[in-house]
Amino acid sequence: MELIVQVCVSGLLLGGIYALISIGLNLIFGVVRIINFAHGEMVMVAMYLTFWLNYFFGMDPYVATIIVLPVMFLFGVLIQRVIVQPIQSSSANMKIFATVALSLILQNVALIVCKGNFRTVQVPYGMSTFELAGIFISVPRLVAFFAALGSITLLYYFLKYSYTGKALRAIVEDHTIARLMGVKVQRLYLLAFGIGCAFSALGGVLLMPFSSVYPTVGIPFTLIAFIVVVLGGLGSMGGTFLAGLFIGVVEAVGGTYVSPALKEAIYFGIFIIAILIRPQGIFGKGKGSEEVGLK
């Protein structure tokens, strides 16, 4: 009994990070209407940046956020401007090809530059835990969870109350509006890609104290993020957050009780079931989603 609670708690905490990464994808997906196959690679790049900042300058991963997030924001803006914008009006397949290409390039540049080794950040609190009602809670995972919750709440209020946020939300809900915005919409796309990238990057940074980075670390994140967005619904912050937690718990429970090797198989299974049952997302509106082939 205690084990299951323990497993669920660590799954929930990890789920916070999944939610963070998925919120980034949700924003990009919803606003720019592109299926970004390189999404996991953004997490990977952020993880490497964090590692290097620690390796060369001894910077604490949490402090590294100050540098990594703005850099990754600009990285996202750059991707949108250089890779996505030129093919904005091409078919959905062309956009997939472009982001698959980007993911290949990033993975293999990482392989060339950093070799295939697993890299970790050594921090004193990396393995530290505390006990609460008989349950061990990992400190960096708890930090990650609350940081995820906090930043998602911030994004929620930004989208709900700021003028720019409202404009972004309007595009997510009805993409035909985007056509009426003219030049301005390009700036909103850049912004959405930047923010989305920065959120995924935050997920990557928060992972570093307790996990390692290698060139293909991002592949599962791309799939996880898509599962979470499909379950949570396009444009739904709350839905995405809950779905992220759900996938975290499923992975932890499956990994413990079925087989650690098959835990990934389990959420891939969920992914296939999820897109079969509700391609438009359980809480989502899914309006105009046929543009990305999500019909």
């Binding site: 397949n93 290409a101 060139p215 090797a261 990934e264």
Partner: protein
């Protein structure tokens, strides 16, 4: 007149290809040709669902299913790979049946994602199911030369087998594309709703395309494994080798056309080998950086693939063919 020229050219090409092993005894050259033929076949098989606009990044699933089916039968039960060819084809098609559920429900990108997930799941099953697959160690095909064992002392038989496979799959692809199924797929690719309203059961068309594609991929995989002697989950279900590579060949050559995959495989296979073996010793992964850049260039500048640059030449050839049929 034109048609005659084409027949002559095709005959010269065929004789030339048949004669290659007699004049080039270098194992390297023979291997390179064989590999190109295998990839032409794999890419042309990958391309069949692409007639209908469906684009898979998970064909390693079918490859692995076919490869494992035949190898397990041979290594564990001593059943000849000649029977394994059928087993491999059928197993891969069963995989196709499973993947067809998301295929029929999902348009474009989500089918692509589902296909990646499917191949990954199978790879993990192959690692985990040790009693059958020997886990990540993999299976070794014992070296017992003979036709029954599909094992040969020289590279020559496999040269001809691979050439035969390439020709077979190209002909099948050409036949499918010009049959009712092909027209229905092309209509569905252009406008799914219009195709449905015109009385086409598009789900059925996509399903049959996937059946052809998965079955052929499984069949090619059986030969490929016996050409290479070993198989382990990382190779048989390799995203790089059997999901991305055929997709890359197809897209760069020209997705959804008959000749695109051929041109793509002819260009990309030697390029890939060159980058892997010559530059790869210096920098592992460089080949995929180059592929990525090529892919971005294709998407931006030649969305129809290399074959679209050759369109004028092909169009002439095509009208020649059709006038030959009418006569």
């Amino acid at each position: 007149m034109r048609t005659n020229k084409i027949i002559v050219a095709a005959a010269i090409l065929a004789l030339g290809l048949l004669a290659v092993p007699l004049y080039f005894t270098s194992t390297f050259i023979l291997h390179m040709f064989t590999l190109v033929f295998f990839y032409i076949a794999l890419t042309a098989a990958w391309n069949i669902p692409a007639f209908g606009g469906k684009f898979s990044l998970g064909h390693a699933a079918f490859f692995g299913l076919g490869a494992y089916a035949a190898s397990i039968l041979y290594v564990k039960y001593g059943i000849s790979p000649l029977i394994g060819i059928f087993a491999g084809t059928v197993c891969a098609m069963l995989g196709g049946v499973i993947l067809s559920f998301p295929l029929i429900r999902l348009k474009g990108p989500f089918f692509t994602l589902a296909s990646i997930a499917f191949a990954e799941v199978l790879r993990m099953v192959a690692i985990d199911w040790r009693s059958m697959t020997n886990g990540s160690v993999g299976l070794n095909i014992p070296f017992k030369p003979g036709w029954l064992n599909l094992t040969f002392t020289s590279g020559m038989p496999f040269y001809y087998i691979a050439l035969g496979l390439a020709v077979l799959v190209i002909l099948l692809a050409w036949w499918i594309r010009s049959s009712a199924l092909g027209y229905h797929l092309r209509a569905a690719a252009a406008d799914e709703d219009a195709a449905k309203a015109l009385g086409i059961n598009t789900a059925k068309s996509h399903f049959f395309a996937l059946m052809w594609s998965s079955g052929l991929t499984g069949m090619i995989a059986v030969f490929y494994v016996f050409y290479n002697y070993v198989l382990e989950p990382g190779t048989a279900f390799s995203m790089d080798l059997f999901s991305l590579q055929p997709a890359m060949n197809g897209i760069i050559g020209g997705m959804g056309t008959v000749w695109g995959p051929v041109i793509g495989a002819i260009i990309m296979t030697p390029l890939g080998e060159f980058l892997r073996f010559y530059l790869g010793t210096i920098q592992q992964g460089l080949n995929f950086v180059v592929y990525g850049l090529m892919l971005i260039a294709v998407v931006n500048f030649v969305p129809g693939g290399i074959v679209s640059l050759m369109a004028p030449w092909f169009k002439k050839k095509k009208s020649g063919e059709s006038s030959a049929r009418d006569n």
